[in-house]
Symmetry: C2
Subunit: 656 residues, 2 copies
């Protein structure tokens, strides 16, 4: 069949495709990444591209496609290559970060992408937490890494002491590590005799030791003293963050973060599962995509740390939600999405790096944090470990990670209950007219003058506003209510004496920033529909909290600590979050921002066998509450669709 | 560089080599096998070939090469390819069996090679023992194979019972197998969800379970009922024998045997080690050679059992001496040969079939019998298991396997001592002028008339005599002494009134068969040098026995059972062996032929976890006596160089 060339600008990458191919697929083939949070369904509108030369055919007509077309753009996912070669421009707003850029970046400034700025923000945040403040990644656990070196000097072989070489080695090792079950793979046995004798029976054994079982990973002649590295990775649905750790010193050497390249298959775990299950080779493609993402991070770290080689990294720990863990290991995620929502496994086999094609030492062991259920993953177990709320003397605490799913854990020492409420992606900016992630130019704080309805705001990096991110949305909701722009049910007061209040295409809306003050040449507004979306999101989270409390028979005021986790958490305005009824009305001092606890717990487990064992205990001990069983959650949810709640006694300190 | 073609007849195989290549190497490259017991040193004379066209250059002059040249032959190992293409004929006497022949064989008859006849003999012997007599391969152990099937019907997943799939499976499995440590490799997890649901939660789990640890090998939908196969292999230095076992019925389905293809690197373990250590890629070559040998046997079995596929064989057990075990697994054997004679390991890792390239199911587990020391291997441990001399109530017993090394075990229940004496290959026919293996035409029984010195004999298959094999040599030595042809020190009585006694090129010799009665057109003789060789061989064995007894403080008459193992064992004339002082002078009833105990013990271990654990116990419990330490053995050896011994009180029943 005749093929056609598609050239993507600004990268200038050319790719040959068959007529009938859509531009999203063509771009993916060219390794040019276009945003596609809806997974190519033609519903999110983020994949807009400009056809510079040639013409395309629309897959089907839609309201969205028409609106985009009016602005001179086409939806990449809906545009099919015809008989002509094409030149297609990808506007900056549709492009996902290119990985090469990450490695070459130098400073934040004009001209770098949103994604990159977002990335740099995160790196700084992590560095601040971990490197500048010198917070120990061990978080109180003893340093006893999952992979360690043991330096041995064995008695030389003789006619009188003629034990075989391996026995000589393991007997000496058993004395050092107090572990009787020692495994060694055949390839390491093959040349053991020569290694022992080259080094006059002085050797360094690299091993992983967990729960009374040890596995030898490498045997090196002489007593090795070069550093030993491990890598801890938080596999987020959106962002992937890696920490390079010096295992013997117990410290973080460096960190890096980037977008999860799976983003091109959709924004949320459901789209990823659908792609994996329904497309040809879908699982393999989505699996490879996260492996590529992690390999990019590894290379990024290694380029910065020039003296470290891939093969110097001998062990890896990952934490991520259950779907991410399945996809990372190439496990079919199909049944996570189908009732009764069963993951294939919550405890993942330890594998060798080479089985997954990771750019580490080929024999590096790769551990995955155990999960609890389909929608309570290793990232939450990792966070629970970090907070120590499973410790014997822990007071009643709540860990809450607000993202697409609001996952939470309630417990004290020996009991822990957990659930996941489908909060939806509103707080991540999705489904909100001008919603966006916490990137350059996002409104993150906002005030409304209750007299004049004039608005003051701050944006990330003080950029000209382009949209509003999660923390901004919470502020916004609280301030809309305070100033009387909306009522307790989120209904707009359309008769207000301000031109900011108006009726738009989709109903009542309120202008937050006038077009001339924005960087997008459009009024930034929030609509009544947006508010309803936000109410559903906050209502789901609060209903989840109430359901957990109900199950164990406690009241809101019984909670001693609330740990707010996730990248979003650090920017959350707690009083506003309480005011809208997202979080419980307990004293602000009881709230603690804990940041990316998924990554931090992964570091802990990598550096401490005790921490790793505790992580496994926690996963086994957490009781998962399935919210779709019974009416408890649904009743709570309906009651939570008001600001702050239908039952005002639950929010005694919130003034209306 | 210009290459030359060498064509080998009668196979007609052509190979391209560089000038300077020797013909043994060229043949090996062409996969044409030539005997080379000396490993290509130019000292054994077995690689004689005839140059049909073209000319070669001799590597160096030697007495042997000259003698061979006089007969119109060249030593393949010493003949270097020059500037011409060559046509080389391999006489039948120099050819090793071709494996294809094994598969196509039909009956013993003229025109089939010695090796093949030898092979068929063994197969018959095994079939008789195992199939016709219906002797159970379990030998008293309970049937509990190393690889077994468990058929499970799991409760279906629901919102109320939402355990993850793997947990659901392992919990059900734990109830069945009473084992808490269950491992599963990632590839089996990947599609577990689909498998469980396809089969409505009815599955068959294939697993290996040993010592409280289980590893899942496969998970199949539904309840499988087709047979489950395993293979037990005795890896002998010379011969390799395989047993195909039905693991669920606990019976031998079929057997096959062939030559160890490593023979081209030399007859004994030392030549194999030298080749592996000193030649480029030597270890890989020698390793691959035994893998190829075993694969040939597997295919042989499967061709016969047409309904069985490679992938139906799920587990394998091998038993062999320490060098064979090292080479089979590709472990460097270098230090086995160098003082202080240390094997790399005596306990071998369990590996997957695919790691070795065996033609079994790729995930089939491959077990190797543990060994005790460099010269007491898994074959001896296997034999010890078979005899049950390590059982609690066992009387004092001696297991003896006479081959190149005479290995023996002495013990009773909780104590076992073992040693290996370098008997040399005399009883295998090597180093004896007309010595040969137990093949077609070998003299195996012999009488000498003490008056006339006339000789009567029987040969294997009643063929015309071509040489004399081990059992014939023992007979011969006994009869030479009885009839006064030699004295107690093995010296020839050159003044006897018979023309059979004469002085040959290498000193006194005695004609056993006149040329006209042979199939080789030469007188078959035994020389004084041959007798000295035999005395050293039998002296070493007896000295080994005495040394073991000495170590534990027992006398010869304390021995209650003597188990004679090895292919050779079954043909041994015990009274003659006692008469020459090879075996102790105890009542013949206490001797038992036990045949190929290496193979039998391998079958037992494959079919019974208890047997496999006992094999490992035995290997750990056996005390190895290194004969080269101290003077004990050497003193005994010197005293044993007489017929039957210097100390005649040790042989009260032997008449001189
Ligand atoms: S509209 Fe194209 S990916 Fe969403
Ligand atoms: Mg996360
Ligand atoms: Mg043997």
């Amino acid at each position: 069949m005749n093929k056609r060339f598609v050239t993507f600008l600004p990268a200038g990458v050319k790719v040959e495709v068959e007529p009938g191919t859509d531009l999203l697929t063509a771009a993916s083939k060219a390794n040019v990444e276009i945003k596609a949070p809806c997974g190519g369904d033609g519903t999110c509108g983020k994949c807009a591209v400009k056809i510079q030369s040639g013409s395309v055919k629309a897959r089907r007509d839609s309201h969205l496609a028409t609106r985009i077309a009016e602005k001179g753009f086409n939806l990449a996912c809906q545009s099919l290559v015809q008989d002509e070669d094409l030149v297609v421009e990808i506007p900056q707003t549709s492009a996902l970060t290119k990985h090469q850029v990450l490695v070459e970046r130098s400073s934040i400034g004009e001209g770098i992408s949103d994604a990159l700025s977002n990335y740099l923000l995160r790196v700084w945040q992590l560095k601040e937490l971990l490197l500048e403040k010198q917070e120990s990644p061990l978080n109180g656990y003893p340093l006893k890494p999952l992979c360690k070196r043991v330096r041995l000097t064995l008695p030389a072989a003789s006619l009188q002491d003629n034990r075989d070489d391996l026995n000589r080695l393991t007997m000496a090792l058993k004395k050092e590590i107090k572990c009787t079950d020692i495994q060694i793979p055949l390839p390491l046995v093959r040349n053991l005799g020569e290694i022992l004798r080259t080094a006059q029976f002085k050797v360094t054994v690299l091993l992983s030791e967990i729960g009374g079982k040890a596995e030898i990973i490498a045997i090196e002649p002489g007593h090795a003293h070069q550093p030993l590295y491990g890598i801890a990775v938080d596999i987020g649905t959106t962002t992937v963050v890696a920490y390079l750790l010096d295992l013997e010193k117990g410290r973080v050497v460096d960190t890096a973060g980037t977008h999860n390249r799976q983003a091109r298959f959709g924004d949320d775990v459901i789209s990823r599962i659908v792609y994996a299950v329904e497309e040809q080779d879908g699982l393999q493609t989505v699996h490879q995509s996260i492996i590529d993402t992690i390999n990019t991070l590894i290379m990024d770290l290694l380029v910065k740390q020039r003296h470290i080689k891939e093969t110097d990294i001998r062990v890896m720990m990952t934490a991520g939600n259950t779907t991410m863990a399945h996809l990372f290991l190439g496990i079919n995620p199909k049944f996570i999405r189908l009732e009764p929502y069963i993951p294939t496994t919550n405890f993942y086999p330890v594998v060798k790096s080479k089985e997954l094609g990771l750019r580490l030492h080929p024999d590096a062991l790769v551990f995955s944090y155990p999960s609890v259920a389909s929608y309570v993953g290793g990232d939450i177990v990792s966070g629970t470990l970090f907070t120590k709320m499973g410790n014997e003397d822990a007071p009643i605490s709540l860990l809450i990670d607000i993202g697409t799913n609001g996952e939470m854990v309630l417990g004290a020492g020996d009991w822990l209950v957990t659930c996941s409420c489908s909060a939806g992606p509103a707080f991540e900016g999705s489904g909100i007219t001008f919603g966006m992630r916490a990137m350059h130019g996002a409104i993150e704080r906002l005030e409304i003058d209750p007299q004049t309805y004039e608005i003051s705001y701050t944006t990330i990096n003080n950029g000209k506003p382009v949209g509003i991110c999660g923390s901004g949305l919470i502020d916004c909701l609280a301030k809309l209510r305070c100033s009387g722009v909306i009522d307790r049910a989120g209904k707009f007061q359309t008769n207000l004496p301000t031109e900011r209040m108006r009726i738009g295409e989709a109903g009542p809306e309120f202008v937050l920033v006038w077009r001339e003050d924005t960087d997008i040449n459009r009024d930034i507004i929030i609509s009544e529909a947006d508010v309803k979306n936000l109410l559903r999101a906050k209502g789901a989270v609060f209903a989840g909290i109430r359901t957990l409390l109900n199950v164990v028979g406690f009241e809101l005021d019984g909670i001693e600590n609330i740990y707010v986790a996730g990248g979003f958490g650090n920017y959350l305005n707690i009083p506003d979050a309480i005011a809208i009824g997202l979080l419980p009305d307990i004293p602000v001092e009881k709230y603690k921002y804990v940041g990316n606890t998924s990554a931090k717990g992964a570091c802990m487990a990598l550096l401490s066998q005790e921490a790793w064992q505790e992580a496994n205990n926690l996963a086994g001990k957490m009781t998962y509450i399935e919210l779709s069983v019974g009416n408890l959650f649904m009743d709570e949810f309906v009651s939570s669709l008001f600001i702050p709640h239908t039952d005002l006694t639950l929010f005694p300190n919130v003034s209306l």
